[in-house]
Symmetry: C2
Subunit: 303 residues, 2 copies
DNA sequence: ACCTATTACGGATTACGTAATGATG
DNA sequence: CATCATTACGTAATCCGTAATAGGT
């Protein structure tokens, strides 16, 4: 079965004549005739009766034309759908994201995207960075929102913006004597070397926040002795607030959480690398889809 | 678009692998690969993303598969429909008939046919014999029920049974003196030569009953002088009953009608050709459909 | 003779195979 | 090296045209 065959038969049925149909279809009349005969032979059943007043459909022919019309319509609808996809008037963008990034980024970016491309379906996949990388490789998501550094070298990424980390301390920490102020920040600065000997509240090693924390401690020459582990940044922050140990978190996450006891936040100098880079990641060997490109452009412009 | 193409893509989508799909489809793997590429090139849009874990559908690909599944189903349903047609478990029989024949024949034949082929749709087209012949030529009906002789030589026919004509007279006709009885009939016989000089009630020349009447009169050597015309056999019979003239009608139609005044019926001898032959007619150059053949068989056996 | 359907046949394109080549784990 | 996708290329089938034939007003 061919789309052409279907259209041939439908046209013959409409014109009740092979000659007229062949003219409308821009094929030679003998060819159309033999097409019809071939199709009838394939089904081993005449589709038309040849009368003086032209070709009239048999019962089987009516069934054929009915089916053919439905199929042609389905296919045409599909093709116009494709056009809409390439015009980005239709489509889907699946974004993988870590849980906190999602709440931070999407609240500003998604409304803008929706405004521009109201008929692009958006899907979110949440999970830890590592899962997001897997999803990218498996094409389960088109793009991923996560923090550098990326483990998998098959993934390309576009840095979007950096965010500073802060240390989280007990409100009335005995380290207060080492604080110093700077213009650029509402939070005091501290040299992380002073954390030597402190207890810590840290994420699990597979988490990106933990890797940044490790980096800070390493730069400060500290091997943490005693540490509590939690996978939740919010939990770590609250535990630090009540003096169970020092933790580290991105500054821009502070506004996401509330603790029963207000903690003390401290910035650290550049040299300790207390920051991470948010990036949008995608499979190196895949082409970015139109919607994905647009999403990235909007991210760059609005963050 | 080809049914094959659709099935190829659906299978690849199911198997997430060209190799496995090619095995299931009994085509070589390189060929399937190039088919996929060709189809993607035709639509200018990738249908799959190639990942380590196999081929996964793009958004466009999902639309394609969705459409393809619907089309394949439509086509398969159509094909099983064709089988049912050739098994006569499905189909249509359109029968052309003159109005009185319909009421006589169908009440006995249709119940039998329905019983045997409950899913064959039956359609009736009623009209004068001449119309029925046109319908046969135009393939508007599969078969026609009418009376010989047929005008159009392109029509074949199968005689089903003969029916005698009777003359219809006034109850107390002055011709009663010429009546004579015979074993074979409840009605008296009369020699139509005695109708010479009578008035007549006759159908219109295009009607088959009229042609039979003309034949009787010609055989009796009578040219009718005065005659009333009506297209209705029933009207003619009623008018004859009240003495407006002699009319002729098939004996088996008598039971169909009732008149206010009971008429007198008379048979005539064989030599005057006072009879007609009911036949089932069909286009000489068309093959009879299965249902048509069956209908004819049932007619022969039951009339 | 004229119009339309069917048959005969030839060249261009497509269908589909095998063998070879990359790419990837 | 083993597996899968892609490329290269050859043959058989088909697509679709023109020319000729037939059937019907």
């Amino acid at each position: 079965m061919t789309l052409k065959e279907l259209q041939y038969i439908v046209t013959i049925a409409e014109e009740k004549s092979i000659s007229r149909a062949s003219a409308r279809l821009y094929v030679s009349q003998p060819y159309l005739s033999q097409c019809l005969m071939r199709i009838e032979r394939q089904h081993d059943m005449p589709l038309f009766r040849r009368t003086q007043h032209g070709l009239v459909l048999t019962f089987a022919g009516e069934q054929y034309v009915e089916t053919a019309r439905k199929i042609v319509k389905l296919y045409n609808d599909f093709e116009t759908g494709l056009c809409e996809i390439s015009n980005m008037r239709k489509g889907r963008l699946t974004i993988g994201t870590t849980i906190h990034l999602g709440s931070m980024v999407f609240s500003t970016i998604l409304p803008i995207f929706r405004e521009l491309y109201p008929n692009i379906e958006l899907r979110l996949e949440e999970g830890p960075s590592q899962k997001i990388e897997e999803y990218i490789i498996a094409s389960k998501v088109d793009i991923g929102l996560l923090h550098c550094p990326l483990k998998d070298s098959a993934i390309s990424y576009i840095p979007i913006r950096e965010n500073n980390f802060v240390a989280v301390l007990h409100k009335d920490s005995h380290l207060e004597e080492f604080f110093y102020k700077k213009e650029e920040s509402p939070y005091p600065f501290i040299d992380p070397k002073h954390f030597s000997g402190e207890k810590f509240v840290l994420a699990y090693p597979y988490q990106r926040v933990r890797q940044i924390a490790d980096q800070i401690l390493a730069a400060a020459g500290i091997q943490p002795l005693s540490c509590l582990n939690t996978s939740s940044v919010q939990t770590a922050m609250c535990l630090s607030a009540v003096g169970l140990g020092v933790s580290f978190m991105p500054e821009n996450y502070i506004s996401l959480f509330n603790c029963p006891v207000e903690p003390q936040f401290c910035r650290m100098e550049e040299e300790f690398g207390a920051k991470w880079t948010m990036a949008v990641a995608y499979d190196s060997k895949d082409m970015l889809s139109g919607p994905a490109k647009e999403f990235i452009r909007i991210m760059k412009e609005n963050m």
